[in-house]
């Protein structure tokens, strides 16, 4: 009886379906129709183009600092694509592709990064939370939503996201543990891009994979190639199926690399080599998937160009819409900062609102602030 080994009922796996050269592992190919495959591609591409456009806009002072999502499209799209409308999404802030697919208008996202609460107003009919800034805190909301689904006996699931760095927060631990204990239908997706701003994962944790954290909670865990949309899709489908069957949460680690800066305010040259980045550029998710679609005969060059053009037009329209909204009376009115503190405005806040209203009336100012362009700021998120 003395030194006896403890058997753990877990095996950890690494999953990849499309390799770097877009070669498919046939046995693992998920059942997806051509249309579905094209939809995956479309939103990944739209997110990429939007990201590029936003970078320009940021440089021009037309939006503020934002975290780029380029290179991470396979993760959010491969996973969020598995959700039903009545399921819930609890994002972090690099899930642009999936959010667009979910129905978040790009103009809303643009308003968000241009400093308008309206950008965090969840569109009607969508069961999502807005992006979340304090890292890992949203994971508890996801766990709570999952617990509520169980309480209400509704067979829905929650999908939530966090970064490798965010895994160090106490809230991440508490969320994984609550979800496990209460058998909540939550799929936790760790977007492991190997950096938290400048801090490499080796300084973030001593464990070799984030996936093995699952063992600590008696939870299923898997590591997948985060640049392979089919692998992400497959792992998420499996996790969601288990969750819907009442088998509880899963932790999916999506291994990727952030080949952009952390945000538009960041300079990665300070902390990592160009070589390292270059190596990962070869594993970029969009090109790989496009090649696969082409090989499979689903998308020829002409069709590809057509999609590109459509998306460009959509983005142009969204930018125009966002900039128009930003200039509207409603969005520019600073007094609205008071209007959503509580369902009913208490007297002391009404007084403060009046104080500001009087001040603005007297000075006829602040009205224009919202629309002004500004130099980029050094703020990170």
């Amino acid at each position: 009886m003395p030194r006896k080994p403890i058997d753990l009922p877990f095996k950890l796996e690494y999953l990849s379906v499309l390799d770097e050269n877009a070669e498919l592992d046939k046995k693992l190919e998920p059942k997806l129709t051509d249309d579905e495959l094209k939809t995956l591609y479309r939103y990944m591409l739209k997110a990429r183009r939007a990201d590029e456009r936003m970078l320009n806009m940021q440089r021009q002072g037309r939006i503020g600092t934002f975290p780029q999502a380029s290179g991470h499209e396979a993760i959010s799209m491969g996973s969020i694509f598995c959700l039903e409308k009545e399921d819930w999404l609890v994002p972090a802030y690099r899930e642009l592709a999936g959010m667009l697919y979910r129905g978040w208008p790009l103009e809303t996202i643009l308003l968000y990064w241009n400093g308008f609460e309206e950008g965090a107003k969840v569109p009607d009919g969508i069961n999502d939370l807005p992006m979340c800034v304090p890292v890992a805190s949203q994971l508890l909301h996801a766990a709570g939503i999952g617990m509520a689904m169980n309480i209400q006996q509704e067979k829905k699931v929650v999908l939530t996201f966090f970064g490798d760095g965010s895994s160090s927060e106490g809230d991440c631990h508490e969320a994984l543990n609550f979800a496990a204990v209460f058998n909540a239908p939550v799929v936790f997706i760790c977007l492991n891009n190997q950096y938290a701003i400048s801090v490499p994962i080796a300084k973030q944790m001593k464990n070799e994979t984030v996936a093995q954290r699952a063992i600590a909670y008696g939870m299923q865990g898997i590591r997948v190639d985060g640049n392979d949309v089919l692998a992400v899709y497959t792992a998420t489908q499996e996790a969601i199926a288990r969750a819907r069957k009442g088998e509880g949460p899963t932790l999916i680690e999506c291994l990727t690399y952030r080949f952009t800066p952390h945000t538009t305010a960041d300079d990665p040259k300070r902390y990592r080599s160009e070589d390292e980045s270059k190596k990962w550029h070869l594993r970029e998710p969009l090109l790989r998937f496009a090649k696969f679609l082409k090989n499979k005969g689903i998308m020829n060059d002409e069709q590809k160009i057509a999609i590109d053009a459509e998306i460009d037009a959509e983005i142009k329209a969204a930018v125009a819409k966002a900039e128009e909204l930003a200039k509207s009376e409603e969005l520019m009115d600073p007094l609205r900062m008071f209007d959503y503190s509580f369902a009913d405005m208490p007297p002391f806040l009404a007084e403060q609102r009046q104080e500001l209203a009087d001040h603005i009336a007297k000075h006829k100012k602040h009205k224009k602030e919202a629309g002004e362009k500004k130099a980029p700021s050094p703020a990170q998120i």
Binding site: W88, V90, E117, E118, A120, K121, V122, D124, L129, P130, P134, S137, L139, L140, H141, A142, A143, G144, I145, G146, M147, A148, M149, N150, I151, Q152, G170, D171, E174, A175, N177, F178, V181, F182, Y340, S341, F342, A343, P346, P347, F348, L349
Partner: protein, 326 residues
């Protein structure tokens, strides 16, 4: 009408609310089978079961963070933090999320939840079990803070807190839990959040207090009348944020003198804000500086000395006399 103490009255409100509204959920450490370390959740687990009365893991941020998720989903969670001294562990969830979702989403989402916690000194408890830091919540935009002073208002205010569409911090003066009984009506009642009560009428000086400090304040008012023939008006705040400045201002405009009594630390406490509001709204009526009889700005001492830390009737009385003789 039934005679009951505050612990029982809060428990009654929980039973009533859970019976009335299926969306109401109670969660926290030891709230289930153990019925709470102060037995405030007595009978709930037996009546409503595991699904609606949830023993959570030992993690305050986890409790409040998942409650936020539940509230966003449409439930009405009431979470118990075992002692207010541990709610700092979950403060970031309240500040960053519970208090913000309505504003952040322009009213699209909201967080109708209640965080209950026993607070305050006076029961010979160990370190971290005696703080009174409601001012932190009062300073936090987007949160309401309610503190009852007796059984009847405890029950009514808890109902109001549960029905409120926004997050409410409901601090329970644990020294009052079993201190006295009071008639509580059979029918469910509420009290408007944001409204103070005049607990004693008077014309010579205004005393403002709340929670466990109300009783020594009332005692002092009695003594003042007996010994000095002075008639003190006593205001029981009940809501700490947003508090009822109008009632205070009205009273002080009449009496010209005011003493604020609370056990939380003095600096940047509720007393400071009350003074500021009186200064802003009743400046010309004031005949003496507003006096603060409060906890001190040191740590609440370990229990062998906690009574010296707490404002008692004698300290309030002295404060009144100093104010009256200014």
């Amino acid at each position: 009408m039934t005679q009951m103490n505050m612990a029982k009255a809060i428990n009654l409100a929980l039973h009533e609310a859970m019976t009335k509204d299926k969306r109401v959920i109670v969660m926290g450490e030891d709230v289930g089978q153990d019925e709470g370390v102060f037995r405030i959740t007595e009978g709930l687990h037996a009546k409503f079961g595991d699904t609606r009365v949830i023993d959570t893991p030992l993690a305050e941020s986890g409790i409040v963070g998942t409650a936020i998720g539940m509230a966003l989903y449409g439930l009405k969670p009431i979470c118990e933090i075992q002692f207010a001294g541990f709610d700092y562990y979950n403060y970031h969830q309240l500040e960053s999320h519970a208090a913000r979702f309505r504003n952040r989403t322009r009213g699209r989402l909201s967080v109708p939840m209640v965080m209950r916690a026993p607070y305050g000194a006076g029961i010979r408890a160990i370190e971290h079990h005696s703080e009174s830091r409601e001012a932190i919540y009062a300073h936090t935009p987007g949160l309401k803070v309610v503190i009852p002073s007796g059984p009847r208002n405890a029950r009514a205010l808890l109902h109001s807190a549960i029905q409120d569409p926004d997050p409410v911090i409901y601090y329970e003066p644990k020294a009052v839990y079993r201190l006295f009984k009071e008639e509580v009506p059979d029918a469910m009642e509420t009290l408007p959040i944001g409204q103070a009560q005049v607990a004693r009428k008077g014309k010579d000086i205004t005393l403002v207090s709340y929670g466990a400090s109300l009783r020594p304040t009332l005692e002092a008012a009695e003594l003042l009348e007996e010994e000095d023939g002075v008639h003190a008006e006593v205001i029981d705040l009940l809501t700490i944020s947003p508090f009822d400045a109008a009632t205070i201002v009205e009273s002080v405009s009449k009496t010209g003198r005011c003493v604020v009594v609370h056990e939380g630390p003095r600096t940047c406490g509720i007393g400071a804000e009350i003074i500021a509001r009186i200064n802003e709204n009743a400046f010309l009526y004031l005949e003496a500086p507003v006096k603060r009889v409060t906890g001190f700005d040191c740590q609440v001492p370990y229990f062998s000395k906690e009574r010296a830390y707490l404002p008692d009737a004698e300290r309030v009385l002295e404060g009144c006399r100093a104010t009256l003789s200014f």
